[in-house]
Symmetry: C2
Subunit: 220 residues, 2 copies
Amino acid sequence: MNISIQVSATLYLKDPTSSEIGLKILTEGIQLMQDLGFEAFTFKKLAQNIQSTEATIYRYFENKHYFLLYLINWYWGIISYRLMLATTNVTDKRQQLTNSIAVLTGLPDSSHPGYIAEEMKLKQIVIHESGKALHTKMVDDENQNGIYLNYKSIVSTVAELVKTIDPSFPYPEMLISNLIENANHQRFFSVHLPRLTNTSPEQDAVEAFSHLIIQKVLQS
Amino acid sequence: MNISIQVSATLYLKDPTSSEIGLKILTEGIQLMQDLGFEAFTFKKLAQNIQSTEATIYRYFENKHYFLLYLINWYWGIISYRLMLATTNVTDKRQQLTNSIAVLTGLPDSSHPGYIAEEMKLKQIVIHESGKALHTKMVDDENQNGIYLNYKSIVSTVAELVKTIDPSFPYPEMLISNLIENANHQRFFSVHLPRLTNTSPEQDAVEAFSHLIIQKVLQS
DNA sequence: ACAAAAATAATAGTATTACTATCGAAATTG
DNA sequence: CAATTTCGATAGTAATACTATTATTTTTGT
């Protein structure tokens, strides 16, 4: 199912991919998180959905905050894997960057290599909930525990490409983290506050915007 | 105190600027929201801090979610006012845009015209908590109630400038909302996840990055 | 200056959430 | 097949996010 996507072991008490019920917690949990949003999501409701009990879920995850972190980490693991697929055997650095930007800011679809069934739902969760996972008083501790390594390594890898292509550009990490965050923001705006953006669910322009920025900003 | 900063009346039950205790709710509330973060902030704690009771605060604000929305709306009201100050009597459209980008992405300091004491604290709250206010199942209702008008009007005004300067640029609103959101994100990263950015609290590069993007992306 | 109205403080109470604890039954494993 | 882990069922607790009531203080209109 997971094609060995890595999720940091500090995020769970017991590996949810190691048992039937753990996998049910994940798949039903993703669905419920999407349906209810982080605030209204509770382990009690999830337990009812999988015909189990709160106590069982608490044996896998410390609390719903960690459960959300797990899902987000999983998402970035998938993206990391797709980034790798999109750049291996591509010799031109420019093309590697273009492909990377496509993976980071484009919309996934089932034709992409490495596509995983949960990716779409996880992406929605990342768009709607990742701010709540990150902007917490516990960020620094969690960062210390390696919880953001997947994300940081993605930014770092693509920023290195930027540095190779245009060593004079002074803000490579800022550029990449901006494009990643922007993609999620704009897709949220496109649905809920369309006046703030020029993309729509029908005519998605996020990837095109991102390529334009890269093209205008980097000298090759 | 407020220099007539407008905050949407749908955000409060009773205008907190209309009484002593209302003003105390605001000033102490800002402080407590900053100190505790949205999750740990409660009306009970705020009531203790101002030597009053929960019930009194509930007469001013429906709940802490609306209280946060009020603070964020207030912040954008201040920015709106500073935007106006930064562009009136400036004839050159390019210069108007540059000044606007400075207001939107730069750091406020007490020497700026229109500086308000609470601005710095409010900015910190916007950086840390605005995602939690926005990414909610109630966004659409709140948007209907005009709660994001301040923010939308800022993006719209500056996007109009972009359109005047470069009518061929296809994503004016996306560009501006991106630069605004990015400024807050990068400042959060600079403190908590410095590997994701190229700005730091000591050497703030957010405004410079924003000017660079504008300069490279728009043809004049 | 004073009666009427509004605002506040003090207190109590409720439903829900986010857990923790216990314990017997079922499943797994060595 | 005995030992261990896992799970389900149930109970319980502290905190949160409110709502309700009432007595007291403050404000306001005249």
